[in-house]
């Protein structure tokens, strides 16, 4: 028994199963972060004062640059596969992985700074929503890194058997990764600048 439309597209929908699946998943993620951003707005509008300048803008800006670069390398990893260059693909995927690790290290120093001052999520509504939003985003980064690690490691074997399917999987990973990146592009101004 084979499930159809794993590799080739269904003519009337123009989609493979995986691509539809990942877009649906991203739709639900939009609702998840949408609800959290709405909560942020409601909490901020309803509070008497809102702290400014609690976060290090430079660290945040650096992380923004890192994540955007990782999105670029992710696209390159997929494009290399499309061009049939598997070695280059591995290089770009590894670069994406390292950039995301770099992002998390940066984040760790930010978190550590707050905890050193004894200011955890319990300290204020601002820090509460800051830790919740960036924490959830961090978990999404970690999830993406696990997937990348899989495709650098054991998942790469699929390329020999079915390069087209492997390329598709990298494309889906990329779609997810761009979404995670996009969330950060909203988080950075909302938490650091405004």
């Amino acid at each position: 028994m084979n499930i159809p439309y794993v590799v080739e597209e269904r003519p009337d929908s123009g989609l493979t199963n995986g691509k539809l699946g990942i877009w649906l998943f991203l739709a639900s993620e939009v609702m998840l972060f949408g609800a959290l951003f709405s909560s942020y707005i409601i909490l901020r509008v309803g509070s008497v004062e809102w702290p400014h300048g609690e976060l290090n803008i430079w660290l945040g800006a650096a992380n923004t640059v890192i994540l955007i670069s990782s999105s670029v390398t992710m696209v390159m990893a997929w494009a290399s596969l499309k061009l049939g260059d598997f070695a280059k693909h591995r290089l770009y995927l590894l670069a994406t992985f390292l950039l995301s690790a770099f992002f998390l290290v940066n984040k760790y120093f930010e978190y550590a700074g707050h905890f050193a001052k004894g200011e955890g999520p319990w300290h204020s509504t601002f820090l509460a929503i800051y830790f919740t939003l960036t924490g959830l985003h961090g978990i999404h980064i970690l999830g993406g890194m696990v997937v990348m690690l899989y495709f650098i490691g054991p998942g790469a074997k699929l390329y020999k058997k079915n390069p087209e399917q492997f390329t598709n999987r990298i494309e889906y990973t990329g779609l997810y990764w761009h979404f995670v990146d996009l969330v950060w592009i909203f988080l950075f101004p909302v938490l650091y600048l405004l």
């Binding site: 028994m1 199963n17 699946g21 909490l43 509504t125 959830l136 087209e164």
Partner: protein, 600 residues
């Protein structure tokens, strides 16, 4: 994305034209029955687990009904085993009553009805009805079941924690739910995150399967109504559950990390000011919760409508009346269900503008519901019906859902909601929708598709005893709730509100009869339980199409093997071609060609 492609997969060219070869040998017990990726096995796992949770949730209610009927009297039979911190000397503590109430709601909705309606029927029937070999992502399907199972275990375990299970109602309103008492609430939140993840995975799978794996010739307007209902339901689950997940995370942070998302400043509990940062907003929880929980109501009811539509068409031997109207109504219902949530919050003082908006949308959403019910009712007109057990349950669904829906109208208007809010009237209203409504439809579905799943019929006599007993008892349980509610009886009183003067007399007395009816209702489930298991072994053997039905699942063997269909199914016509003038038989299946030489 994962998929099951055993053996080597040819690069690039179409694989779906290949015959369904058995490309692997017999699977072991664990892979075949426990960690199976076959949608039919997963559907049956969901069905049985869901039924067990329904029984468990109902048992909680039977215990609560004793406390309501005879407040302060020791619970017979099980009272002595409940323990000192739940029911000392067998007499129920108020805290334990609250746990039972919260967990009854949670279990019935999230662990019983939805897994049965969507996970069970959706998984088993939907791929068969669209002519698919399996779901689009079989492994994700398996994960979805096991995550649901973990969520269930988490919820049950919370009863054995110190302080017991969650006690803040199934709605978990803060600040009550975020207070440091009630440890079970943390478990409740963790359990909910499991359940949300499970239904997220399930809904992605359902939508992808319906869009991608329909058989040749099965256009959208030829889909059986049940598939349409599951399609819309999946979108509701996909888009409405994440906000509750967000809310759950925020409440978990409140409980574990000491934040105060939902804790206002200056909260005083038992005479002591609470040491929290404050500045939070308890209403925010209600908005996020009901943003899920109202679409959730339609998650409960739409699959039931789908099941009822299938059974009515089959047993009236007529096409459904207004198929297109049904489809458009169900789509419109799906959209509207996202903009009615705050009609649960008229009492919160959110302002008259908001109330006016949400009562308007609520009145609008009642239109498609009425269209669906009317179309189903008109389908009966002029039919010579077969009163089989599934048909009896499906027929009972119509007036029961009608009562449930119509009693909802006064609750949807802010002015009439104010005196009725949080009374037994509300309980009566939504139980008529879900209990004799949805659960009856689910029973109908079990009797209807049982022969497809097992190859054997369930016993009709036992089925009719089950139906009539349940039908009478369930109405004696729920009908008096409207009287109690109109008298002003509050829904959360652990003694039924005996200390309030307005409850004295009839309203309180009714609790005794309602209790007896509830226990009798429990007894009338015994024929079903026996029938279910005995028929697997001793039921009458049937062929491929025992009901003379028209949809695709009846072209597969009973029970269908791995890969479902013996030959690739092709669809030639709409789903309900019953009693076509000039046809040899009174049903013309979707899978039969007009020209015999083209048929397979």
């Amino acid at each position: 994305m994962d998929n099951v492609t055993h053996g080597s997969v040819a690069h690039g060219h179409a694989q779906h034209d290949h015959a369904h070869g058995d490309d692997h040998g017999e699977l072991g017990f664990w892979r075949k029955y426990v960690f199976s990726v076959d949608h039919k096995v997963i559907g049956i796992q969901y069905t049985i687990t869901g039924l067990l949770f329904l029984l468990f949730g109902f048992t909680l209610m039977m215990v609560m009904r004793w406390q309501l009927a005879y407040p302060g009297r020791p619970i017979p039979l099980i009272g002595a085993w409940l323990g000192q911190d739940r029911a000392p000397m067998g007499i129920m503590l108020p805290e334990f009553y609250n746990q039972l109430g919260a967990m009854h709601g949670t279990i019935m909705v999230f662990l019983g009805v939805v897994p049965l309606a969507v996970g069970g029927f959706g998984n088993f029937v939907m791929p068969l009805q669209i002519g698919a070999p399996d779901m689009a992502f079989p492994k994700i399907n398996m994960v979805s079941y096991w995550v649901y199972f973990l969520g269930g275990v988490t919820m049950i375990t919370s009863f054995f924690l110190r302080g017991g299970a969650a006690q803040s109602g199934w709605t978990s309103y803060p600040p009550l739910a975020t207070l440091p008492i009630a440890n079970g609430q943390t478990m409740w939140l963790v359990g909910m995150i499991f359940l949300i993840t499970s239904s997220l995975l399930g809904s992605i799978n359902f939508i992808t399967t319906i869009v991608q794996l329909r058989a040749k010739g099965l256009t959208y307007m030829r889909l059986p109504f049940f598939v349409w209902a599951q399609f819309v339901t999946s979108f509701l689950l996909l888009l409405a559950f994440p906000p509750l997940e967000a809310a759950g995370v925020l409440q978990l942070m409140d409980r574990v990390a000491g934040t105060s998302f939902f804790m206002p400043s200056g909260l005083v509990v038992s005479g002591k000011a609470l040491a929290v940062a404050g500045n939070g907003n308890p209403l925010l929880w209600q908005h996020l919760f009901w943003f899920l929980a109202h679409p959730e109501v339609y998650v409960l009811i739409l699959p039931a409508m789908g099941i009822v539509a299938e059974i009515i068409a089959n047993n009236t031997r007529k096409p459904l009346w207004g198929y297109k109207a049904l489809v458009y109504s169900v789509i419109f219902l799906g959209f509207m269900s996202f903009v009615v949530w705050a009609h649960h919050m008229f009492m919160t003082g959110m302002g008259t503008t908001m109330s006016a908006f949400f009562q308007t949308t609520t009145m609008i959403i009642s239109i498609p519901s009425v269209i669906i019910l009317t179309a189903l009712l008109l389908s009966l007109y002029g039919a010579s019906m077969r009163f089989t057990t599934p048909m009896l349950f499906a027929l009972a669904f119509l007036p029961m859902f009608g009562i449930g829906g119509l009693t909802g109208l006064p609750l949807g208007l802010a002015v009439t909601d104010i005196p009725l809010h949080d009374t037994y009237y509300v309980i009566g209203h939504f139980h008529y929708v879900v209990a004799p409504g949805t659960i009856f439809a689910l029973f109908a579905g079990i009797y209807y598709w049982f022969p497809k799943a097992t190859g054997r019929m369930m016993n009709e006599t036992l089925g009719k005893i089950h139906f009539w007993g349940s039908f009478i008892c369930i109405n004696i349980v729920f009908m008096p709730m409207f009287i109690q509610g109109l008298a002003g009886m509050n829904r959360r009183m652990y003694d039924g509100g005996a200390q309030y003067a307005h409850n004295a007399g009839l309203p309180l007395k009714l609790n005794i009869y309602m209790g007896m009816a509830a226990w009798a209702l429990g007894l009338f489930q015994l024929p079903f339980i026996y029938n279910f298991f005995a028929s697997i072994k001793w039921g009458r053997k049937v062929g491929i199409n025992p009901w003379d039905a028209t949809t695709l699942e009846w072209s597969a063997p009973s029970p269908p093997g791995h890969g479902n269909f013996l030959t690739e199914p092709i669809v030639y016509r709409g789903p309900y071609e019953y009693s076509v003038p000039g046809a040899a038989r009174d049903f013309t299946p979707q899978f039969e060609s007009d020209k015999p030489e083209q048929g397979r």
